[in-house]
Every structure is written in structure tokens, then in C-alpha cells.
């Protein structure tokens, strides 16, 4: 009996530790919200809010949060998620938006739908949702939000525009925006890196073409290979091979042993999770080059080696732009009457210096690319003149903007 009590206490302590581990950063951002909103930078936009035309909601005279947004806290090894979330959280804190979290596994549709229900029951005005690989789950979530009158943005949702279910999504007035990098373009660009490195016969470690969210990357890679005169010798579509460096090492060494003519390998997903193993296997095989989609600061050192041709990246703040559209809608000032499709540009990085600059610009993944004042100007509640076209222009200029920021 005593033993069971000890176990219960231990389990409870473990649960609390897990919660703190998973939500530590989030708590900080929630707590920071009022402080950021009270910062001196908020004063200027508040002035322009006074000039808001009739019919538009403004922030003038309100002390509490301007709206309540729900997000899902994911436990994931994907290094790109944390900085993306930090960017969003920084913005929400600056705007004085209340954030509530529910947790789910990124690959678990059922758990995500349950988490969405939890968020809706907490009375959120809007939800930030990562597109699920199972398309039907995205439709269910869209319908749930429509029925509950909760605004929704879908991140990594660019591929949904090509889906046969797109009209159904378009008919949901509460779906504010689909946002994501052009998946096909990213597949194309990563193969360009290998072509520039002099590769002729390449192998792909890519998500399957049929996968709703990332499948188009392989299509893009194949188009690039055809256009640039490269031969795709072998394609491995088992993404479980890319979950760790050792599985990446085994998959690559098997591929290179089976197809010795391969002189370049492109990784189409979860690069940062397997790149060290893939690069090691490529190095052991000789002059095989490796390029991948996404990277993190820990993978910089690999770029110094001769085998890594480079990485393809999108701005860390990519999903921030969707949240701009969401918060505007939640505060009664939608940027557009139609569903916004925000396509994020992507770019290749072929040297350590370039990659380090990228990290510096986006504040080492801490998501401070825009100042609080600049972020305020993107909300109609503070800047009534802000339009959807302005947002599209900022998105198109996101890499140039970053270069500007670096000069300051």
C-alpha cells in the first residue's frame, strides 16, 4: 500500500515535470503578453488606432487581451517548429493576445482533433493549426471551427490548395488563411543545390509523392532533375528512415552500396534529424554530396565538410504571417473577405557563412525578426490602413527584409 502511494507521488511528480518541460516556453510567452503590450512601442500604434474608420474595431480604451488564440503544443524533434512557434508567440505577446495551449502529437490526427475541441471549449476566438498528413482530419477541424464560429489558420497548408477538397475549405468563412512554403519549389531547389555541386546521378530520401502535405516536394525534385539533366537513380520514401542519425546512416549506406553510381543525395524532410548520419555515410562512400530541406544551427559544422552541398530554408517567421491574418480576423478586422493563401518563399544556403547569417537574422531561432512596433503596424486594430496586399508584399520580401535587418 505504501509502495503504491510512493509510485503515485512519483508519477504525479513526473507528470508535472513533463508539463513544465513541454510548456515552459509557452508559459513565459503568455506571461510576457501584458508587459509587451504595455511597452513604449505600443504607444505609437495606439495613436493611429484613434483614427480608425467607423465599422472597424480598435484597441483604444481596452486594457485586457485583444483576443484569445489557441495553439497546439507539439512534442517534436523537428527543429524548425520551435523557432516558428517562438516567432508566433513573440508577436502574440506584443499584440497583447491571450494564448491557450492544448497538446497533441503532430502525427496523431485523433489527438489533434481532441485538442481542437479542448481549445474551442476554452472559448478561443481563433486557432493556429498545423496541417495534418491525413487530409480528412484537416476537413474535420475546419468544420469544427466553422460550427463553433472560431477562426482558423492552417500552417503548412499550401498543398491543400491543390486538393479536391479545397472548395469545401474555401466555403468555410471562418478559415482565414492557408500558409506555407511552396513545397514543390523546395523540392526543386534542393536538387538545384546538388546540380550546382556537380552531381549527375542522385538518390532521394523524400516523403512519398502521395503524401498530402509534403508529397509535392518529390514532384518538384523530379522536375528539377529533368530540367537540370540529372538522373534520379533511387528514391526512398520511408520517412521512418530519417528519424535519427543512425537510421539515416543505415538508409544511406544501403542506398550507396546498392547504387554505387549515385553521387548526390537529397533529403526531402526532417533533414536536421538525420543529416549527420547521412553525411557520414556519404563521406565514407567517397565524393557523394548531400543536400537537404531545413536545417538548424547544430548542423552548421557539417557544412564545413566537403560532402554537404547545402540546405534549403524558409524564413523562421513563415507562420507568423498567417497569425497576422488570424488576429486581424479575430479582432473583427479581416484582411480579406476570401480565404488567403500565403505562400512563403524559400532559399538555398550553400555555405556556413550564409547559414550563420540566416540564423543571425532570425535571432538564432528566437523569432525576433520584426520589432514590436513593426508587428503592431500589421494589425488593423492599430493600423487601419494595413491590407492583405501589404501582408502579401511583406511575405514576398521576407528574405530581403531579413537582409535589411542585418544591415541595421
Amino acid at each position: 500500500m505504501k509502495g503504491k502511494r510512493i509510485v503515485s507521488i512519483l508519477l504525479a511528480v513526473s507528470m508535472v515535470a513533463m508539463l513544465l518541460g513541454a510548456c515552459g516556453g509557452n508559459n513565459a510567452s503568455s506571461a510576457a503578453a501584458p508587459e509587451s503590450a504595455a511597452s513604449s512601442e505600443a504607444a505609437a500604434p495606439a495613436e493611429s488606432a484613434a483614427e480608425a474608420p467607423a465599422g472597424q474595431n480598435t484597441a483604444a480604451g481596452s486594457d485586457g487581451p485583444i483576443c484569445k488564440i489557441g495553439m497546439i503544443s507539439y512534442n517534436t524533434g523537428d527543429a524548425t517548429i520551435t523557432p516558428m512557434y517562438k516567432t508566433i508567440e513573440n508577436a502574440l505577446a506584443a499584440w497583447n493576445v491571450e494564448v491557450v495551449y492544448a497538446s497533441a502529437d503532430m502525427s496523431d490526427s485523433e489527438a489533434t482533433i481532441t485538442a481542437m475541441e479542448t481549445l474551442i471549449n476554452q472559448g478561443v476566438d481563433g486557432i493556429v493549426h498545423f496541417a495534418m498528413m491525413e487530409e480528412s482530419a484537416n476537413l474535420v477541424i475546419s468544420k469544427m471551427c466553422q460550427e463553433a464560429g472560431v477562426y482558423l489558420v492552417i500552417l503548412d497548408g499550401d498543398a491543400l490548395t491543390k486538393s479536391e477538397n479545397f472548395p469545401a475549405l474555401q466555403n468555410n468563412p471562418y478559415l482565414v488563411a492557408l500558409c506555407g512554403a511552396d513545397t514543390k519549389a523546395r523540392g526543386y531547389q534542393v536538387v538545384e543545390l546538388l546540380a550546382e555541386a556537380g552531381c549527375k546521378n542522385i538518390g532521394l530520401l523524400f516523403p512519398p509523392e502521395g503524401m498530402s502535405t509534403y508529397g509535392e516536394r518529390q514532384t518538384g525534385a523530379k522536375e528539377a532533375a529533368e530540367a537540370l539533366g540529372l538522373t534520379i537513380v533511387n528514391v526512398q520514401e520511408d520517412i521512418m528512415q530519417l528519424v535519427s542519425p543512425s537510421t539515416g546512416y543505415d538508409a544511406t549506406s544501403s542506398m550507396l552500396a546498392s547504387y554505387p553510381e549515385i553521387d548526390g543525395i537529397a533529403i526531402g524532410i526532417m533533414t536536421q534529424m538525420c543529416i549527420s548520419g547521412v553525411a557520414k555515410a556519404a563521406q565514407e562512400a567517397g565524393s557523394v554530396k548531400v543536400a537537404g530541406i531545413d536545417f538548424d544551427e547544430n548542423t552548421f559544422s557539417l557544412m564545413e565538410g566537403e560532402n554537404v552541398a547545402g540546405f534549403n530554408a524558409v524564413p523562421f517567421g513563415q507562420f507568423y504571417y498567417a497569425v497576422v491574418a488570424l488576429v486581424n480576423a479575430c479582432t473583427g478586422n479581416p484582411l480579406s473577405d476570401e480565404l488567403m493563401v500565403i505562400t512563403i518563399p524559400s532559399k538555398n544556403y550553400a555555405s556556413t557563412e550564409e547559414a550563420a547569417d540566416y540564423y543571425k537574422i532570425w535571432d538564432g531561432g528566437n523569432g525576433y525578426a520584426y520589432t514590436d512596433e513593426e508587428m503592431m503596424q500589421m494589425l488593423k486594430i492599430y493600423n487601419p490602413d494595413f491590407t492583405a496586399d501589404d501582408l502579401y508584399a511583406i511575405v514576398a520580401d521576407s528574405f530581403n527584409y531579413a537582409a535589411e535587418l542585418e544591415k541595421r
Partner: protein
């Protein structure tokens, strides 16, 4: 003696069949010594992990947390290696292994919940801790730390682990206690085998093998990465499948040797299916079919052998009965 060797060599049949099959399809690949060597190297980590899993299974502890434990140890090792160098790498797996073993011992011994359910809770916990420690980022191991990832080092470590696994299974008291406990914990307890001590020793031994797996995995892959909550269970499933293959050959060879057979079979399949450009979505189907065929054939052969033994026993009993009857008849006649 010759029959004994043939009996033991039977377990090599699936390995030979699979290798010859792929050799026929891709002689340019499977005809090379480098491919054979690669297959063996790829089988080492699953095999050592399989020994960890088999110890727990034999003791009746269905533990799915071994994969998460390996990932946790890997992350700790890489993190400590940054400040302490190569010693940190070793120290990392030892510290994480000890902590994990202590935690699991407490939970498995004191909780009334089934070990399987408890192990899933541990998987979630370890995944969360690993993500927290690694800051949800990949960790790269510098080139000078990769000594243990070289084939010679892997071979030496593997042989040491094999010797340890074989000795534990065949010649140690704890090996016998684990088997007895796994067979029937009530009977084992009645015979003086203490459940707490047996479970604890099993978990510590299993964590030892997990630690070696983690060390080899980070050295081969030149890094470590945190995993999503239940992702690490895939790693355990491969080891469990290898364990089942090993179990089917338990009549021929020791479980520790059978585990090598199982792991090598999977490694051949992995490399072979890539070499014949098998679509990834069909890989699982092929692996499943191979497993079913292997298990069915082995079970059929085992049943045939059992029938033969049974017939032999019946024949001996019949002969004994007949000889007893004839001697009784002789005695009666004498009286």
C-alpha cells in the same frame, strides 16, 4: 557430434536463403564482401538492443520503453561529450542508463499496473525529457568522437556483448532466475526467487545493453536526436520481431545466438529491398510475409521434431511395458 552441429546450423537457413535470394537478384551488390560486412554492421545495434528486450521478455516484463531509453542515453552522451570529450560520451550513457534503470526498477516493482502500460508511460516521459535536454534540436557528434562507430570497434563491442548475453543466459544464477520468474512468478517465488531482486537485476542488465546500443548508435550516426512521443517504439518492435525469430530457434541454439539470426535477417531484408528498388509502401508487406513464412516453417519443423520425440518416447514406453509383461509372465510361470 555431427548431428549436433547440423541441428545448430539449421538456424542459419533463413539467413542463407534470404542472402542467396538477393544475391540472385542483385549479384553485383550482394556478391561483394563490403555488402556482407555492411549487413552485419547494420544488424549489430538491433541485435544488442534485442538482448536488452529479450531479458525483459524472459522475465515477463514487456518493456516498450527501451527505444526511448536508448534515445535518451544518446542525447545525454552527446551533450556530455561537448564538455568532457570522449569520457563524457561514455559517462553520458552510464549516468542516463543508471538513472533510467533506477526509475524503471522503482516503477515496475512498486506499481500494480502492468509493466507494458507502465513502459508506455515511461516512453512519453523519456521522449519529453529527451526533447527538453536536446532543446528539440538535433545534436551532432564531432569527428574525433566517432571511434566507436568504426567497424573494428563495433566488432569488438559486439563480441563482448555476445559473450555477456550468452553467459547470462547459460551460466549465471540470474539467467536461471529470470527464466524461472518469466515461466511462473508464483512458482519462482515459492522456490525462494525474490521478485523484487530479479526484476531489478533484469532491468539493470537490460539498461546495460541499451547503453551499449545508444553508444554505438550515436557513434555510427554521428549524432543524436530527440523523438516524438511514441516514435521510439518502432525501434523496440524490430527488436521484438528479432526476439520472436530467436525464440523459434530456441530448440537449436541459445536465445542470444538466435537473436543474431533474427537481426541479420532484418538487415538483409532492409538492404535487399533497397537494392531491388522495392517501393517503400510495400516494404512492410514483404517483411511481414517473410516473417509469416519463417515462423510457419519453423513451427512446422518444431512440431515435426516434437512428434518424432513423442513417437520415440511412446516406442520406448511400449517396449518397456512389453518387457515388463514378459518378465511378469516368466515370474508367474516360475511360481
Amino acid at each position: 557430434m555431427g548431428k549436433k552441429i547440423i541441428n545448430k546450423a539449421v538456424c542459419l537457413i533463413p539467413v542463407v536463403i534470404l542472402y542467396v535470394l538477393f544475391l540472385a537478384m542483385r549479384p553485383d551488390v550482394f556478391g561483394k564482401f563490403s555488402t556482407l560486412s555492411m549487413v552485419i554492421m547494420q544488424a549489430v545495434c538491433p541485435c544488442i538492443m534485442g538482448w536488452a528486450v529479450s531479458l525483459c521478455f524472459m522475465a515477463g516484463l514487456i518493456d516498450f520503453s527501451i527505444g526511448a531509453e536508448v534515445y535518451l542515453m544518446g542525447v545525454c552522451a552527446v551533450l556530455l561529450s561537448r564538455s568532457l570529450g570522449f569520457a563524457g560520451l561514455i559517462l553520458g550513457v552510464i549516468i542516463a542508463g543508471l538513472c533510467s534503470a533506477v526509475l524503471k526498477s522503482i516503477l515496475f516493482n512498486l506499481s500494480s499496473a502492468s509493466p507494458m502500460v507502465m513502459s508506455i508511460a515511461i516512453v512519453y516521459f523519456y521522449s519529453s525529457v529527451t526533447g527538453f535536454l536536446a532543446n528539440k534540436r538535433s545534436l551532432i557528434l564531432s569527428g574525433d568522437m566517432l571511434i566507436l562507430g568504426k567497424p573494428a570497434a563495433i566488432a569488438v563491442i559486439f563480441l563482448i556483448c555476445l559473450a555477456a548475453a550468452y553467459t547470462i543466459n547459460r551460466y549465471t544464477v540470474i539467467g536461471a532466475q529470470i527464466r524461472a520468474f518469466g515461466g511462473s512468478s508464483e512458482i519462482a517465488s515459492a522456490n525462494g526467487i525474490r521478485p523484487f531482486a530479479t526484476r531489478t537485476k533484469t532491468i539493470f542488465l537490460s539498461s546495460g545493453f541499451s547503453a551499449v546500443t545508444a553508444l554505438l548508435m550515436v557513434s555510427r550516426g554521428a549524432g543524436a536526436t530527440p523523438t516524438n512521443s511514441l516514435e521510439s517504439i518502432t525501434l523496440v518492435f524490430s527488436a521484438i520481431m528479432a526476439f520472436f525469430i530467436a525464440a523459434t530457434f530456441s530448440a537449436n541454439v541459445d536465445l542470444s545466438i538466435g537473436m543474431i539470426v533474427g537481426s541479420v535477417c532484418f538487415a538483409i531484408l532492409d538492404v535487399g529491398l533497397i537494392s531491388i528498388a522495392m517501393p517503400s509502401n510495400l516494404k512492410g508487406t514483404v517483411v511481414g510475409i517473410c516473417l509469416i513464412i519463417l515462423m510457419t516453417v519453423t513451427m512446422y519443423l518444431n512440431k515435426k521434431r516434437a512428434d518424432r520425440v513423442l513417437r520415440e518416447v511412446c516406442r520406448i514406453q511400449r517396449e518397456n511395458r512389453e518387457s515388463n509383461q514378459s518378465s511378469d509372465g516368466y515370474s508367474t510361470a516360475a511360481i
